[in-house]
């Protein structure tokens, strides 16, 4: 194992899959000559050439659709959105064309495409650039969605996504690109299955369900809860939103009997709403307290730093919610 950044992990995943399969190509804005807006594709143009690392004009609908068309005839496109906030310009391609094709064609055309890029609020980017899109896309049958929070998960999930025969959204986190973590050596084939959550911290009093940017937040809160409140929190990182690892959620909740879901999206029809519904449906009697959710406030994202902070989930909000479900 060695320590690398989340960005480097994604870069390695791309390079390994490009080297492995000649049908894989990377397309998007600034991915080639600029080396990626967030430098995730650094060095790939030099290594793989302009045939496979393709700069596009600012035409999300156009190049996302190109990816779907290329996938129909056997290529395996990786389409980078500079941010998933821009994927709305290509919404029709992502929700109508990519996931519907298999059904509409009676099983003749599967779409092995990866849409990837940063997702979720970053820092003071304002309303248009701060969208957490996971709950929107999770509503669409035919899409798979993963949300890596660590360098290891970023590498392993992206590689799996590229090899999957269905459309997969890899929702990265801008705020995590420079974060570091331990990852297997480069010659190790790291594939992490979609739909498999991971316990990031064991505990006995409460389960904190989290993903993406809320994972480091949950881990920090769990430390504080342990030290200051003597509450032992278990931190379950979903890693994939769809398929959802219900089994792992139920296993943890059956042990702790208390749950807080901390999500980076908005509360109305958010990911946490689905998680809550499934827990109460399956193991209502195992719950010792109502489930609480910590999500964004239900407002367009303000630019002002203090207000933005008030909108976002935070360790303080999470700790308060945990104390409430623990009746302390």
């Amino acid at each position: 194992m060695r320590e690398i950044t989340y960005r480097q992990a994604l870069n390695e995943a791309l390079a390994e899959e490009l080297a492995r399969d000649p049908n894989v190509f990377l397309m998007g804005e600034e991915v080639a000559e600029y080396n990626g807006a967030y430098k995730v594709s650094q060095g790939l143009l030099e290594r793989f050439g302009p045939r496979r690392i393709i700069d596009t004009p600012i035409s999300e609908n156009g190049f996302a659709g190109m990816g779907v068309g290329a996938a129909m005839v056997g290529l395996r496109p990786i389409i980078e959105f500079m941010t998933f906030s821009f994927s709305f310009v290509a919404f029709d391609q992502v929700v109508n064309n990519a996931p519907n094709m298999l059904t509409m064609s009676g099983g003749q055309f599967n779409i092995p495409i990866t849409f990837r890029g940063p997702n979720g609020p970053a820092h003071q980017l304002g309303a248009t650039h701060s969208h957490a899109t996971e709950c929107l896309y999770a509503n669409v049958p035919g899409l798979k969605i993963c949300t890596p929070a660590t360098p290891r998960d970023a590498k392993g999930l992206l590689k799996t996504a590229i090899r999957d025969n269905n459309p997969v959204l890899v929702l990265e986190s801008e705020l995590l690109y420079s974060s570091k973590g331990m990852v297997e050596p480069e010659d190790f084939e790291l594939l992490i299955p979609l739909g498999q959550a991971e316990l990031k911290r064991e505990g006995s009093d409460v389960t904190i369900v989290c993903y993406a940017q809320t994972v480091p937040l949950a881990l920090a809160a769990a430390e504080t809860l342990e030290n200051d409140e003597e509450i032992s929190a278990e931190v379950l990182d979903l890693r994939s939103i769809k398929p959802l690892d219900l089994e792992a959620i139920l296993k943890s909740v059956s042990k702790t009997h208390r749950v807080v879901v901390v999500e980076q999206d908005r509360p109305f029809c958010g990911v946490g709403a689905e998680v809550c519904y499934r827990i109460q449906r399956e193991i209502f009697d195992a719950l010792d307290a109502p489930i609480l959710r910590v999500a964004q406030e239900d407002v367009p994202m303000p630019y002002n730093e203090r207000l933005e902070k008030a909108v976002l989930p935070s360790a303080e909000k999470l700790i308060a919610a945990v104390k409430r479900v623990c009746y302390t």
Binding site: G69, M72, R76, D92, Q108
Partner: protein
Amino acid sequence: MQPPELRDEVEMLSLMLLIRRFEERASQQYQAQKIGGFCHLYIGQEAVVCGAVAAARPDDYLITAYRDHAHALARGTTADACMAELFGKATGCSRGLGGSMHYFDKEHHMYGGHAIVGAHVPLAVGMAFASKYRDEDRVTLCFFGDGAINQGAFHEALNLAGLYKLPVVFICENNLYAMGTSVERSTSLKRLVDRAEGYDIPGTVIDGMNFREVRDKLGEIIDSIRKDPHPAFAEIQTYRYRGHSMSDPASYRTKEQLEKFRGDDPITRLRAQLTREEKLTNEQFDKIDKEAKETALASVKFAEESPEPPLEELYDYTYVNGSAS
């Protein structure tokens, strides 16, 4: 023994007749409520897709919008599979899961059947991209209506195709109406073909009621693309005799206009050309028309007798199993 080219023209006339007779039957079955959803008929436009198919190779990629019955039939999808799809049956070309607007036939290189106006034009560019990526000499034929040329996806796609010099023919089937809105009321251009100029893509205007002109002009375009990959744009002027869909009485246009185009019917025209040149007798025409009618009628029987897609398979087509080897 007829020389190949002449045999082909009679064959293509048969195909145009099959498309028309098929759709007449579809119309009848729709009115009998055997067919659900929307149903958009191509009657009047047959020479466009038939001319294109005659000019292309069978393995050239073909993709179109929602008025797609003719495109599948022209590519070789059977009338049985097409009618069964309208009936929502498991034997349909999309297993009864797609319907009228979503015909697919991978074996015959028919890539749909796309019902969001303009949304498939980027897909066509992606298919052409794949041809170039793999150094194949396939050309992509991308059909759409005059209504699509005002969609953003169309403009983005043309720019991308022009930028990357991709082997695709954008075939605008200008039937003068986007649903009920005439070209004059929807488009700032006088000549639709001028859309192509903005992307430095060569454009051609073609009489879509004349099979030979469609075939020959598209043939030249396709040949030149095959030699040296680039996009091209063809505005094919045509007319649909029926309304936008089955529920549309088309009261936004005049009887005179309809009669004018009917008088220039593509089937009548090709028949007259062949008859004049003594390549087709009235008896031969009657025979192929009778065959077309019989095939269309038989397809209704086939569709009626076919099974529904099984309920147990409801979840089988949302995701495909497995991954790249």
